[in-house]
Amino acid sequence: MLDHFLVRAVLGAVGVAFAAAPLGVFVVWRRMAYFGDATAHAAILGVALALAASVPVFAGTLLVSLGMAFAVAGLTKRGVGADMVLGVASHAALAFGLVAVTLVEGPRLDLQAYLFGDILAVGKTDLALIWGGAILVWILMVWRWQAMLLATLSPDLAYASSVDPEREKQVLMLALALVVAVAIKIVGALLIGALLIIPAAAARPFARTPEQMVIGAVGLGVCAALLGLWGAWEFDTPAGPSIVCAAAVIFAISTIFGRKSHS
């Protein structure tokens, strides 16, 4: 069954939607959209370094994304304007990544694959990495869920309950880097942020608790993945952007219905 490329593509896309959901909600709640982008863009640089050092791309993207996350978090904590630091880091990482990849691979390289994903080329090893990564992300998030929620709500309340919000932030960054490394093959570095935020945002109008919002984000994310893949197959469009388009349409519908059900 796994021998058919479409089956692998579907499983890959669903795996990424599954991994992105529990992190996406935190990215939304903590207003880390730009932070997620910076981490994702750094993955391109990770690809270049991995190719140069002949190590697996997964390892390269994971390490560089993680490094980026901690570097940016460290800088913003020291009182430098967060928005400014993220703006610099996000674009600089992307530009350096693109230059580095071209230097390593030569101009014949298909940059599109790293920017927008290459879902139809997903192999069995990629699938194993995607689902292994997704399961690891879920283990981390379930383990730290309560503490992370409290730290997101109020660092002071967290301290008063003997929860260290800094530690929770580090776990979150680790999980974020994992999702980036898992997702780059499917949607590419440019659109990982969209896959994190849009399903979570689409789930918001129907959720009364944080848990409901995660479950909604999983469901809508998987829907977007399947719809997007079907669209890509039907209209011969690139798969990664098609998935994000599907997610955006779902978000629009959810927002309209959410408004109505409130009034």
Binding site: Q146, L149, L150, P155, L157, Y159, S161, R204, T209
Partner: protein, 248 residues
Amino acid sequence: MIPLIQARELLVKRGSTQILRDVDFQIAPREIVTVVGPNGSGKSTLLKALIGAVPIAQGKVTRKTGLRLGYVPQSLQIDPSLPMTVGRFLNLPRKSPRAERDLALAEAGAEDLADRQLTDLSGGQFQRALLARALLNRPELLLLDEPTTGLDQPGQAAFYRRIETVREQLGCAVLMVSHDLHVVMSASDRVICVNGHICCEGHPEVVAQAKEYRALFGSGTGGALALYRHQHSHDHDDSCDHAHGEQT
């Protein structure tokens, strides 16, 4: 008597600025202590240092082993993208049995708020939800950081009366930051006047006469203190939030 929490020669810095220095502080079981001081004087920082939320540059904070504390922060900025009912909020970071949650909600006067979204609450309702969460673990020490910010005067009076009732029921100590001088003075066993360090402390009447205190707050508060004492016998119902046209 063993103090619940004790600070010795505390120094707290933000960057290279000293926020608090030479702070010696302790609070005994059942004691009600109020921290007063001008804006930016380090009142909130003192509370945060005691719960471990700000790093301490020098000195030491020791707690009674196994101290149960409840903390009510000044305010919370909750992102509207985060769905959270009051009932769910009470289950952070540990899930509590239904009966305990209901009890804490009732004690805080928030029994009808369990299913409401945190972002939909009025200022007074939000404070009661925060108080309910602080009461969940039956605290021996209740820390309140300007808990009535944003409440109108009847709302403030009602909240403080509620704190008194809670203290009688639980027998806990209360450490409160406030700048509602007249409200605070009457109920406290001890007042600490902070302005970067502890300027003066003692019984409310003594502190109100101290020259350090008068230099910070002027001498007009004596009259306000008397005024509040009269107010104290007034009967304001807790449903004062109705004045804003809200459902409680």
